[in-house]
Amino acid sequence: MKNKIDFMLAGVGGQGTILASDILVEVGLKLGYDAKKSEVHGMSQRGGTVESHVRWGEKVYSPVVERGKLDYLIGFEMLEAARWTSYMNNQSAAIVNRYRVPPPSVNLGLASYPPDEELQHFIETRAEQFQWVEGNAIAQELGNPAVAGVVLLGVLASKLGGSEDVWLEVIEQLVPPKFIDLNKQAFIRGKRLNA
């Protein structure tokens, strides 16, 4: 068991970031870690950014990840992933959904959305590992773009190693009954991506 693992999940309100972080923190607890999570919500439904911190450790004090000490960045949206690179270091890993939600300033033609390569380069140079995930495309194939976040969790689980049973158990516990199968499928698709 590692001494500590710090995660950040970054996305846009409505993308399921909070459910994914709830699953992640619960998995940590089930694996025997002390686990905490923190996020700021309030205006996220109105299209703002959502940033969620999840920490696993032998003993976790702060619910917030310290800048420069992040282990895994899980980006639900490309631009939002790029916003938190100051939390990473040269051993961090970034898993980023290749999906854009243009902010209003871009829609209005007042700003431009950086190209994929630029965002990738920017994140990559601050991390040891970088992986794009076609989360929304996979989720769409499964029939519901809302489960893209759970695909990302699958990819994360494959990097962390270990059994997938705990993850599936937590998904079953936290997801509304009629979406359990869909979410499990999404998780498994993600988990097998790197196989």
Binding site: V12, G13, D22, V25, E26, L29, D34, A35, K36, K37, S38, E39, V40, H41, G42, M43, S44, Q45, R46, G47, G48, T49, V60, Y61, S62, P63, V64, V65, E66, R67, G68, L79, E80, A82, R83, S86, Y87, M88, N89, N90, P102, P103, P104, S105, V106, N107, L108, G109, A111, S112, Y113, P114, E118, L119, H121, F122, T125, R126, P145
Partner: protein, 593 residues
């Protein structure tokens, strides 16, 4: 067994375990989930009050009657409820009364970042401060016992990071029996204690002072204040979230963790200070603990090291400590220099389909001075709508508009306020306009729910917090009944009608009210087919983009609509001067206009 809970969930759980029977609150981030969660426990009564002052009076009444009671609000809510806080400090109670008060350092969703520890000192009531969810659960119980032992309301202060962070909580087998006092509610008539006419109040003030002295003595041995000795080089005094950050940044230091932040345990502080070489207080916002220690004549570091503004973080605490020479900054390997691409910001904006958008668009076109208020609709101040010119606190709009009117400003102006805010503190200034012969036009954005904090029911919704059907209060009916002669109701989705009604009202010298009425589309899950832009007709003039609606996207030489995001409200169809935006006839949804 342990379960992950947010601080707010743990408070609700603690209140249930401690036999709290009556809960009252007004929603406000980051406090809202306290009462939401409490209301779902069996055998409890919980309600949304129209404002925090009413909520606190309700809690006081329940506690007078011998019941254990909980009241919850955000930091600025206590400003509204301050009057009740101060009298209840004098009268004391019968059953226990706990006031949950959530501060918002960093102003994630607030208009200021006041430090409500100051209220504890001001009102002379004890205050506890949990540092995680387990503390939150336990401290509720301690607070209620203190309340009954010392005959005082007790404030439990959290901050956003405590309220909205999840950590594990030990579950207890079943709810503890309610306190004996709450089993048979009865109001014990004792006017000398409960009627605060001057003669009685004068007798009560020394009682309050005596109580504070006893509470200070209790604080010395209270289990929730504890010393955790490490190395003697550095001793840190902290409570709340600052304690957690400090524990990470100073792993070897000695700690005095304060669970009770008022009154402070002077002897405990003195003996801790004597054991360490350097004494440091780590606290967000005001130097509340630091000043007290300085008055005791003990050398201490605090705000000389850490800022007085904003929210702390582990990084900030480390950086400040390093700057002050208290620790060595670790090698920072995150600072690889890479050219940072220009990242466009993502501010929150009105939801697709929101009815408020039509109102602000119209006000902007009419170039009206808009005296605003607090709610989702405050986003009408943001570009491109940019149609709100003041916003201070809950219920301020109508009074400010009346003041602008009486000052003789020639601009045409309106007060704008949401339904929940209107019920909160909008009714009295509405009366003031009428009474003092003002001419203000008040626009109530009536979407029949408290949308901002996550769709809590309110007096206009027709449902109570515990899901009972109740009378819906009609705002235009209320205005007419107090004497407003010019009152209209209009849909926010009919721009022509909206514009003509607003014109009529602002050009009239009568005080007036417009109820712009349509349920929040997110709350009632109303959705219509997205309109389609005919690219051959679109002249790319940008008029529709002025609505500030996120599904509308600027393409190379035309605008398109993202059907996944679009709610189909039809405002863009109405504003397009080229008639390039066409209603999608695949009309599965109900007709709106």
């Amino acid at each position: 067994m342990r379960k992950l809970m947010s601080g707010n969930e743990a408070i609700a759980y603690g209140a249930y375990l401690s036999g709290v029977k009556v809960g009252s609150a007004y929603p406000g981030t980051p406090s809202t989930e306290v009462m939401d969660n409490f209301s779902r426990y069996p055998g409890v009564y919980a309600e949304w009050a129209p404002n925090e002052k009413v909520a606190l009076d309700v809690g006081i009444g329940a506690a007078y009657a011998g019941s254990r009671a909980m009241v919850a609000m955000k930091h600025v809510g206590l400003n509204v409820a301050a009057d009740a806080l101060f009298y209840s400090s004098y009268t004391g109670l019968n059953g226990g009364l706990i006031i949950i008060n959530a501060d918002d350092p960093g102003m994630h969703s607030s208009q200021n970042e006041q430090d409500n520890r100051v209220y504890a000192k001001f009102a002379k009531v004890p205050m506890l401060e949990p540092a995680d969810s387990e503390d939150a659960k336990t401290f509720v119980k301690v607070a209620l016992e203190l309340s009954e032992t010392f005959d005082t309301p007790v404030i439990l202060r959290t901050t956003t990071r405590i309220s909205h962070s999840k950590s594990s909580v030990e579950l207890e087998d079943s709810a503890a029996p309610a306190s004996e006092k709450s089993t048979s509610p009865a109001y014990n008539r004792d006017p000398g204690k409960f009627v605060m006419v001057p003669a009685n109040a004068r007798r009560r003030h020394p009682v309050v002072e005596d109580r504070l002295a006893k509470l200070a003595a209790y604080a010395e041995t209270a289990e929730i204040n504890r010393i955790e000795m490490g190395k003697e080089q550095l001793g840190i005094i902290a409570g709340g979230i600052a304690y957690q950050y400090a524990r990470e940044v100073f792993p070897d230091a000695s700690f005095l963790k304060l669970g009770m932040v008022y009154p402070l345990p002077q002897e405990l502080i003195r003996s801790f200070a004597a054991k360490v070489k350097v004494l440091l207080v780590v606290e967000e916002l005001e130097p509340f603990i630091e000043e007290h220690i300085r008055l005791m004549g003990i050398p201490v570091k605090g705000k000389g090291v850490f800022p007085i503004t904003g929210e702390f973080s582990p990084h900030l605490v480390r950086e400040c400590a390093a700057k002050a020479g208290l620790i060595n900054m670790e090698q920072d390997n995150s600072s690889t220099t890479v050219s940072q691409p220009e990242l466009p910001v993502r501010p929150p904006m009105l939801c697709p389909g929101c009815g408020h958008r039509g109102v602000f668009h119209t006000l902007s076109k009419l170039d009206v001075l808009v005296l605003g208020d607090i709610g989702c609709y405050t986003l009408g101040a943001a570009p491109p709508l940019s149609a709100m010119h003041t916003c201070g606190c809950m219920g301020a709009s109508i009074g400010v508009a009346h003041g602008v009117d009486k000052a003789g400003v020639s601009d045409r102006s309106v007060a704008i306020i949401g339904d929940s805010t209107f019920f909160h503190t909008g009714i009295t200034p509405l009366i003031n306009v009428l009474y003092n012969q003002g001419t203000t036009t008040t626009i109530v954005l009536d979407n029949r729910v408290t949308a901002m904090t996550g769709h809590q029911v309110n007096p206009g919704t027709g449902l109570t917090l515990q899901n009972k059907e109740t009378r819906e209060i009609n705002i235009s009916g209320l205005a007419k009944s107090i004497g407003y002669e010019m009152v209209d109701e209009v849909s926010p989705y009919d721009l022509d009608k909206l514009s003509s009604v607003i014109e009529k009202h602002i050009n009239s010298s009568l005080p007036s009210l417009i109820s712009v009425k349509h349920p929040c589309v997110l709350n009632v899950k109303e959705k219509h087919p997205a309109p389609v832009v005919d690219q051959d007709i679109c002249v790319n003039c940008g008029t529709c983009l002025e609505l500030g609606c996120s599904p509308l996207t600027q393409e190379e030489d035309h605008v398109s609509i993202n059907p996944l995001l679009c709610n189909g409200c039809g405002l863009c169809v109405q504003v397009c001067p080229a008639e390039a935006i066409l209603v999608n006839d695949d009309n599965n949804g109900k007709e709106r206009r």
